[in-house]
């Protein structure tokens, strides 16, 4: 008991001291998802880099995923400490705008953007495409279109994530809707015949795929890069589909209750500098938003030249209906 108290008080006094030491400097608080600050994420380098030039202290509070971050700020309302929210994506924009927690960032669109994506309230900082990943050693002739995957003559086994509980799952839902429109329900029924399982989150699905439970798993087109960088393994590849791939853009914005708007804006600009963009490319394994030198591994993977996306308004209007459509299509 004594030791526990002792340990806690040591930890506590450390955090207290660090606050006192920086009492003179302004503090910028960023809310983000937890993989941002983890040992392998880009957060630590960004924090150091930004603190070196802003004469401020950067606090990063991390929560589960993008949705948890948004909901946490909604729960906190005007009492929030957050100045910047980092880690939402284009599919959450409608929700975030409806929650009315942001102010326009007033940063002008840079010329060297990699994409056509721009928004008044949100700064995009990286993007990627949802794609099905397969092992080249085992699948010699992967599907070349979403139609081919859905019709599935080769009987590929598929694992994907539940759109109700995970971001990639929701991405696939939109992807199918974009390609199949009103025929989506039928297509889902066809997919269901070859689905091994639908998991709560990306981690379970990808883990099961690596355990060889399925031929194809829903992930990002950049996933093979992680295998190349981490373990020099070139077996994994993304199946490129003729219809195009649904795009995910990760964004950051300024919270309207912030007392440090200028500092927040400075931080958003900092996210678009080449060094930081490279951090995202290396550690988030997503494409940088401005033209940047990419690690070599990026040149070794299949690229995507057609991107699909719904507008936030469409998503806001239909998301729940589409989820219900999916639910009833595959529950039968």
């Amino acid at each position: 008991m004594f030791r526990k108290n002792f340990l806690l008080s040591v930890i506590f006094s450390f955090s207290l001291f660090s606050h006192l030491a920086n009492a003179q400097q302004p503090t910028l608080t960023v809310y983000s998802y937890n993989s941002f600050m983890s040992q392998w994420g880009p957060g630590e380098a960004i924090k150091k880099g930004f603190e070196a030039q802003c004469h401020c202290q950067l606090d990063v509070v991390t929560l589960g995923d993008g949705v948890s971050v948004l909901n946490r700020i909604r729960l906190e309302g005007d009492k929030t400490n957050a100045d910047v929210i980092l880690g939402l994506d284009n599919n959450l924009l409608a929700q975030a705008k409806q929650a009315d927690i942001l102010i326009p960032h007033q940063i002008s669109k840079p010329d060297n953007l990699n994409t056509d994506w721009w928004d008044d309230s949100f700064i995009p900082y990286d993007f990627g495409y949802f794609a099905f990943i397969y092992n080249q050693d085992k699948i010699k002739n992967p599907p070349h279109s979403l139609h081919e995957l859905v019709e599935n003559q080769a009987n590929w086994k598929i694992i994907y994530q539940d759109p109700r509980t995970s971001t990639p799952g929701l991405g696939l839902l939109f992807w199918m809707k974009k390609v199949y429109g009103d025929e989506a329900a039928n297509a889902w029924q066809q997919v269901a015949k070859h689905t091994v399982t639908v998991t709560k989150g990306w981690s379970e699905a990808y883990g099961m795929f690596l355990k060889d439970e399925a031929d194809l798993v829903l992930s990002y087109s950049t996933s093979p890069i992680a295998h190349i960088i981490n373990e020099n393994n070139h077996s994994y590849a993304a199946a490129i589909f003729a219809e195009g791939h649904y795009r995910q853009v990760e964004v950051a914005g300024i919270i309207k209750y912030s007392q440090e708007v200028d500092l927040a804006r400075q931080f958003l600009r900092y996210l678009l500098t080449p060094e930081i963009q490279r951090q995202f490319a290396e550690k988030n394994v997503m494409y940088p938003i401005i033209k940047t030198d990419l690690p070599d591994a990026y040149k070794q993977i299949n690229t995507i030249d057609k991107s699909l996306e719904f507008t936030p308004e469409e998503i806001e209007k239909h998301q729940k209906g589409w989820i219900r459509e999916w639910q009833s299509a595959i529950s039968n």
Partner: protein
């Protein structure tokens, strides 16, 4: 005569629990009503999931119980080297993070798992697919049956030797012995255990999704999680209440059927004595133990071996050490909280039973297990709304996690200790009353000294339960506080798959060593 003094500990602990739970739920209601988002939908789909949830939970509970009784009985009939070790390892399945359970099971039953490899070598076509209802049942039995089995085994062991001698003299067959002597003892444990397993399976979520083979099998908890994510808080709160009602109804039903008999069954002497057994029974028991043992051990062993295989010292990073430290601190803290609350409740519970108030006792124990019926996301959100001014304070987050995990562990502590504590209190009741032994003195002289091993084991158990949990931390932010399961998920999300297996193995080893340290018997057995 029931004194207010003996009611006080239980009532205060129970009201503390009720206050925490209800204020969390009320906070969500209040916030939802204020925020004006009043969309509620209740369609046939929700009815459908309630049915599915109920169905799989009842099946899982039945299978777990049957397996547990068979295995416990078989274990009591055979002796072999490593039996004690097996009994110690068994409850660990209970605490593993979902991801580890799923990978563990897949390494055995998956497409490239152990079974399929063995079949390949033997040229038997392997067509078993783990996905579907049987996958869910397999996982739930894997998680719950070992714990139940341990408890049942202990119960069987507590049959007094005098009764065994008597049974032998009367020439009881093994069947008669089971029916007349062992079954009445087991029965007291079965129904509370059924209620516990039912609640765990009812609120199970990630496993059901992962092994269900598609959303055909979802649970109500998924709908609640979805509602929280969509920020339909009113919907979430309503569904949470619905889940609560379902679980309370089930427990109520169980308690209706169940009654604790006023019968004393304590070990008087420790010498082992068995009725003479026919050979066939012995063989059947050995086979059962072997199958059960493999069923429990194989998934864990694969994780352990892979963990050792991938282990490198460079993986013991500062973050990992920090996560380890936090996990241990939080585990100890939540054990203390759970133990304190549990002992307070049971103190009153024993006295209620002695004074023949089984209904009050049932109510008290129900309150203790309520927490399992409340989705942790809902609890966490509610607590967050209440306490959010402190949400950036590391010490506070630690304390909160201890309280939440402690509350989660409470039902298990109650399960382990309720019957023994009542028995021992009742046994010495007249003596202690005539000598006026009360309060802490009574606790030390009677309860603690009599049940030291059970109490310590329950303490360790609460600790390992907390090691595996990561419900609350997801909402309160994990930058200042990381625990091992949290770290494991971080690794996976950065494609550090092999490294994550090492973390899983460390979690396993840590849980096991906690159990061994706590169970270390300082006094010789006789």
């Amino acid at each position: 005569m029931l004194k207010f003094r003996s009611l006080l500990p239980g009532i205060s602990a129970a009201s503390l629990i009720l206050i925490i739970l209800s204020s969390a739920l009320l906070a969500i209601w209040k916030f939802a009503l204020q925020s004006g988002n009043l969309t509620i939908y209740f369609d046939s789909y929700i009815l459908h999931i309630i049915w599915i949830t109920f169905y799989q939970a009842v099946l899982s509970t039945l299978l777990s119980l049957i397996a547990a009784i068979l295995m416990a009985k078989a274990l009591s009939l055979v002796d072999f080297k490593g039996k004690k070790l097996l009994l110690k390892i068994m409850p660990i399945t209970f605490i593993l993070p979902t991801l580890v359970v799923v990978t563990g099971l897949l390494s055995v039953y998956g497409r490239q798992g152990l079974l399929s490899n063995i079949c390949q070598i033997l040229h038997i076509p392997f067509s078993f697919s783990i996905y579907g209802l049987h996958g869910i049942l397999l996982a739930h039995v894997f998680l719950n049956f070992p714990y139940a089995c341990c408890l049942f085994y202990q119960t069987l062991q507590s049959v007094p030797i005098e009764q065994k001698h008597l049974a032998a003299q009367l020439n009881f067959s093994n069947v008669t012995f089971f029916k007349i002597i062992e079954w009445p003892l087991l029965r007291r444990q079965i129904l509370p255990m059924a209620a516990l397993i039912f609640m765990l399976c009812f609120s199970s979520f990630a496993i059901v999704l992962a092994l269900g083979g598609g959303p055909k099998y979802t649970t109500l908890e998924v709908a609640i999680y979805q509602a929280i994510r969509d920020f339909d808080l009113l919907q979430a709160a309503l569904l949470a209440c619905l889940q609560l009602v379902c679980c309370i109804a089930f427990i109520g039903l169980m308690q209706k059927i169940n009654r604790i008999d006023k019968k004393l069954t304590l070990k008087f002497t420790q010498t082992d004595y068995r009725l003479p057994q026919p050979k066939g029974l012995k063989i059947v028991s050995s086979v059962l133990v072997l199958i059960g043992g493999l069923f429990i051990l194989l998934p864990m062993l694969t994780i352990l071996f892979q963990g050792i295989y991938f282990f490198q010292f460079s993986l013991l990073t500062f973050s990992l050490q920090q996560a380890l430290l936090f996990s241990i601190i939080i585990a100890i803290g939540s054990s203390i909280i759970a133990m304190t609350l549990g002992l307070l409740l049971l103190w009153t519970n024993s006295r209620l039973l002695i004074n023949r108030q089984p209904r009050l006792s049932n109510g008290l124990l129900l309150i203790a297990s309520l927490i399992l019926a409340i989705p942790s996301m809902v609890l966490a959100s509610g607590l967050f709304l209440l306490l959010f001014d402190y949400s950036n304070n590391t010490v506070f987050i630690c304390l909160l996690m201890m309280v939440c995990n402690g509350l989660m562990a409470l039902p298990f502590i109650i399960k382990n200790l309720a019957v023994p504590m009542y028995d021992i209190t009742a046994q010495y009741w007249r003596l202690t009353q005539s000598l006026n032994i009360n309060g802490l003195t009574h606790f030390y002289l009677i309860d603690f000294r009599g049940l030291r091993r059970t109490i310590l084991m329950s303490f360790a158990f609460a600790g390992i339960l907390s090691l595996g949990d990561f419900g609350v931390i997801a909402l309160f932010g994990g930058q200042s506080v990381t625990t091992l399961p949290y770290y494991l998920y971080q690794q996976i999300s950065h494609y550090q798959y092999k490294e994550s297996i090492v973390t899983a193995a460390i979690l396993l080893i840590l849980s096991f060593s906690l159990l061994v340290v706590m169970d270390y018997d300082r006094t010789s057995k006789n």
